[in-house]
């Protein structure tokens, strides 16, 4: 099963995604939670805590900076970037915008 949760700000996307992910995991389904928000907060709702949520390196950023070769397999990318949390859910962040980039509208 592959599900994407979308909607207006504040409508409950992250909360819904987190509960979906943990419910699936509790039913025994190996579950990957992908935070595709450039302001990633999904780790908080999944119960990873703030420190682990903030420690995640975004896959896209690592690729852009050359830390990571393109075309790694999904498993390789997850081994490098995903962390495991409550109920065994694995979490990876796709692309975070962490700092101001003036002059780049």
């Amino acid at each position: 099963m592959k599900v994407a949760v979308v909607g207006k700000g504040g409508s409950g996307k992250t909360t819904t995604a987190a509960v979906l992910a943990r419910t699936l995991a509790r039913r025994g389904v190996p579950t990957l939670a992908l935070d595709c928000d450039t302001n990633p907060n999904l780790g908080l709702s999944l119960g990873f805590g703030e420190e682990r949520t903030e420690s995640l390196i975004a896959v896209r950023d690592a690729v852009d900076e050359g830390d990571q070769e393109h075309a790694g397999s999904a498993e390789e990318l997850l081994a490098r970037f995903a962390i495991e949390g409550p109920d065994g859910v694995r979490l990876a962040v796709v692309s975070a915008i962490q700092n101001p980039e003036p002059g780049c509208p």
Partner: protein, 253 residues
């Protein structure tokens, strides 16, 4: 006064920005309210029926600069004030409302509208306009300079971990050169402890605290501006006080 509201999605940026713009206008300022969110929001809280009157692509024309690079300028005969006159709508209390235009389809080509919006906003003079901007939730637009018109960035934060985490990221706007002043606005508070939580969690000075307001929820459900539903609510009072304190401060500077 030029302010930009930023914050996590759902923190209450648009709700506060709409009231802020109208209260500022009631004080006699000439106010331009800017909405660069590709999803609707500010029009509701201003009480403007127009949900999708973006700037058309033909507001700009392309030209080559001396080095042969492609650049854009407002089309000939269209100066920034004429552009505001033409592409903005008038909201209650006389606020001018200018929006980027809403997302259209999966691959809507709207880069020309974006160019036009930036050209107009960059040309605004503080002598002519007070500016109240409402940016989309998250860090993307804020970190890419969409709030650069602002002298003061107001980070709206609820007393929740995700909201203050987002606010702490946005506080980095103060770090680069030509940085604006960055302040927090605590929203949906229920008591002093919530205000202190936002202050501690964001690491920002708190310019104002806006109490949780049941009437705002009612206005959201009905799709009307809070000010037009009931002007005597905790949110309106708190935002009016924020407008007064920022105005008084600016008068001293």
């Amino acid at each position: 006064m030029r302010v930009a509201f930023v914050g996590k999605g759902g923190a209450g940026k648009s709700s506060i920005a709409g009231v802020f713009a109208r209260m500022l206008a009631r004080q006699g300022a000439r106010v331009l309210a800017l909405d660069s969110d590709p999803m609707p929001g500010l029009a509701y809280s201003l009480g403007v029926p127009s949900q999708d009157a973006g700037i058309p692509a033909d507001a700009v024309e392309e030209y080559e600069d001396d080095d042969g690079r492609r650049r854009y300028r407002l089309r000939s005969g269209l100066d920034p004030s004429a552009a505001i006159e033409r592409y903005s709508t008038v909201s209650p209390d006389g606020v001018r409302f200018l929006q980027l235009g809403k997302a259209r389809g999966v691959k809507g080509e709207n880069s020309l509208s974006h160019q036009a919006y930036q050209l107009i906003v960059d040309s605004l003079s503080s002598d002519d306009w007070s500016v109240v901007g409402d940016l989309p939730g998250g860090t993307r637009q804020a970190f890419f300079g969409w709030g650069r018109f602002a002298q003061t960035v107001l980070v709206v934060a609820e007393p929740t971990p995700a909201s203050v985490l987002t606010a702490r990221r946005l506080a980095r706007l103060a770090l680069h050169s030509s940085a604006p002043r960055v302040l927090a606005v605590a929203n949906k508070t229920r008591g002093e402890a919530d205000v202190r939580y936002v202050e501690r969690g964001t690491g920002l000075p708190v310019a104002g605290s806006v109490p949780y307001d049941e009437t705002q929820r009612d206005a959201d459900r009905r799709g009307v501006a809070l000010l037009d539903l009931d002007a005597d609510t905790p949110l309106v009072a708190a935002v009016a006080s924020l407008v007064s304190s920022l105005s008084a401060e600016e008068a001293l500077r």
